[in-house]
């Protein structure tokens, strides 16, 4: 304590004593003391103002610390690489376009309002335009209901009014004629995609090739470059005073954890001896191990959160392998029976053919009973009030087929996913790659999330999917990108054993569900404490900001 605090305390004690001993019996005495207290208030107000002024001055000088400009530059490079528009060969164009998400959202139409549904439809229209295959109102022709509604939606959307009365009244009118209007739209979109799938595949293929050629990089090289940049960004952020201070201000870190004695206590717990016993070189190496362990634990923690998706994908793989085995056996048995061609086809091929056939039947029904070769003669005749019961039956039959094909599309998505799993996942595929494959399929992710968390709400599903996609896309990995599925390893043991070799006292128990967060916090405290020492901010300054913030009401 400096002389200044002592001197102020001494003055205060004297002034307090003076007030205390002064007689307060008569009115004159009271007035005299009042004057004395008034003077003291004035005096100490001045002192307080000087102190607060100095506090504000220090606060401003610390709080205005600027972020290392390199961080923004690295972030920009990562975003640029992430938005290159190059795509993996694993998902189909359907997923690349985001149609899986749109179809998922439209399928849950009964949980949403009309405005949201319309937004999804418009998003879909924009996606087709983006890939060079614009879908127009003429293409929405699977049923007269779809045509009627989409004509209005296109017109109103061009005016920028997705909530117009005309849209609402048209929807209302159409809905009472056909409550399956949204499933009809979904099937219409899927049909259109099916017709143009090859062109869309070419669009993505050409775009990826063009971008990679301009960069003179392969897809893997772009991915690795992004990984390295993420690693660099993590390191820059860790050592950046502004980011460190923000982490304390937003309560990610607690200033009371970052006292030297606490740091030493935790360090001792981790290495089973006082940190002071480490030689400088040993301490440096151990700090580096702690830093690596910190990132490994975060990766492991996230892996545990999303492990259920890896399990589901591997379950699908097993199912598909069993199917293939069964199909092969059937093929062997029926190879003599050449008439039974269909039985030799995979489920994927069979469903694809069934969809094609049903779509043709829908088309035929739409064109039937007409004089001119245009669609919806059924509808036209109705409009002309020339209703004939035969046409009504055909409409009913067509509607039934639309709903059947919708179910088949759902089955087809599952078959596509299984095909992708069997084609892209082998015994030497890493856990990260499995998770990445899972992340491409929106509908699959949503189904798995609902299975795991039955009470989850729609927004939370979307948020979780966004986090999964971000996790696999924008992270630096050093554990799950090395562990292959055939090994069936317990990752916690892999991590524990590695750091035990480097002198850390870790047990399996540290990685249990009950203790993992505590271990992560301990390792984080050591790592962040070391980072602060290497950074451009002092822990004393951080502590000052946290304490002064409350006093200064800033």
């Amino acid at each position: 304590m400096s002389m200044l605090l002592k001197s102020i305390e001494k003055k205060i004690n004297i002034d307090k004593e003076v007030i205390g001993v002064l007689p307060k019996t008569g009115i004159k005495q009271l007035r005299s003391i009042k004057k004395k207290v008034e003077n003291l208030i004035e005096k100490y107000d001045k002192i307080n103002n000087s102190v607060v002024k100095e506090m504000n001055k220090r606060y401003d000088s610390i709080i205005t610390i600027k972020e290392n400009s390199e961080i923004e530059s690295v972030k920009k490079q990562i975003i640029e690489l992430d938005n290159l528009g190059i795509s993996s060969n694993v998902p189909s164009s359907f997923e690349k376009m985001g149609l899986d998400k749109i179809v998922y959202n439209l399928n849950g139409y009964y949980k949403k309002d009309l405005k949201t549904i319309n937004k999804e439809i418009i998003k879909c229209i924009k996606k087709f335009k983006e890939v060079g295959v614009p879908i127009t109102k003429k293409d929405f022709n699977i049923s007269e209901y779809v045509t009627e509604y989409m004509n209005v939606l296109f017109e109103e959307a061009s005016k920028g009014d997705l909530e117009s009365e005309r849209i609402k009244s048209t929807f209302d009118k159409v809905y009472w004629k056909c409550s399956d209007i949204i499933p009809h739209i979904i099937v219409n979109i899927r049909q259109f995609f099916g017709i143009h799938e090859e062109e869309i595949d070419m669009y993505y293929k050409n775009r990826t090739e063009k971008v990679l050629a301009s960069l003179n990089l392969t897809y893997e090289e772009v991915y690795n470059k992004k990984q390295e940049l993420v690693k660099k960004m993590n390191s820059l952020i860790s050592l950046d005073g502004k980011n460190i201070l923000d982490s304390f201000l937003n309560n990610t870190y607690n200033v009371s954890d970052y006292k030297t004695d606490n740091y030493e206590k935790i360090y001792e717990k981790i290495i089973s001896k006082p940190v002071s016993e480490l030689l400088p070189k040993e301490k440096k190496d151990m700090d580096s191990n702690v830093e690596n362990l910190h990132y490994n634990l975060i990766e492991y923690y996230n892996y545990l959160e999303f492990k259920f998706l890896i399990d589901e994908i591997l379950k699908l793989r097993e199912e598909k392998r069993a199917e293939i085995k069964k199909e092969e056996e059937e093929k062997k048995n029926k190879s003599k029976d050449k008439k039974n061609k269909n039985k030799n086809k995979s489920e994927y091929e069979t469903v694809k053919e069934e969809i094609k056939q049903l779509n043709e039947e829908i088309e035929k029904l739409n064109l039937s009973g007409k004089s001119e070769n245009t669609k919806f003669s059924l509808f036209k005749k109705k409009q002309q009030k020339d209703i004939d019961s035969n046409n009504d039956e055909k409409i009913l039959e067509r509607n039934k087929k639309i709903m059947q094909v919708k179910e088949l599309y759902a089955k087809f998505d599952n078959c596509r996913l299984k095909e992708s799993v069997i084609q892209n996942i082998g015994d030497t595929t890493t856990l990260l790659e499995v998770l990445r494959i899972a992340s491409y399929y929106y509908g699959f992710l949503a189904r798995c999330i609902i299975k795991k968390f039955p009470t989850i709400v729609e927004n939370e599903i979307h948020d979780m999917i966004a986090r999964i996609k971000k996790f696999v896309r924008l992270n630096y990995f050093s554990v799950i990108n090395h562990i292959i599925i055939a090994e069936k390893k317990d990752i916690s043991i892999v991590i524990k054993d590695k750091y035990k070799l480097f002198g850390m006292t870790l047990t399996k128990d540290n990685f249990s569900e009950a203790n993992l967060e505590e271990l992560m916090k301990d390792i984080q405290i050591i790592k962040v404490y070391n980072d602060i020492i290497k950074s451009n901010i002092l822990i004393d300054d951080v502590r000052y900001i946290i304490n002064a913030k409350e006093i200064l009401k800033r």
């Binding site: 304590m1 002389m3 200044l4 009042k34 100490y44 307080n48 102190v51 000052y544 006093i551």
Partner: protein, 46 residues
């Protein structure tokens, strides 16, 4: 503001500066409460 040995506010450590502010502020609150008490006593006696 300077102390007996000419220590300036700008020379004190962060923790101490906050401590000074707390001590001064507490005393100011004490003085203000004393002032109110005296005023009450004054009213009662006048």
């Amino acid at each position: 503001m300077e102390g007996k040995n000419n220590i300036k506010l700008s020379d004190v450590e962060n923790d101490e500066l906050i401590e000074i502010q707390k001590v001064v502020n507490d005393f100011l609150n004490y003085l203000k409460s004393e002032y109110e008490n005296i005023e009450k006593m004054e009213e009662e006696r006048s």
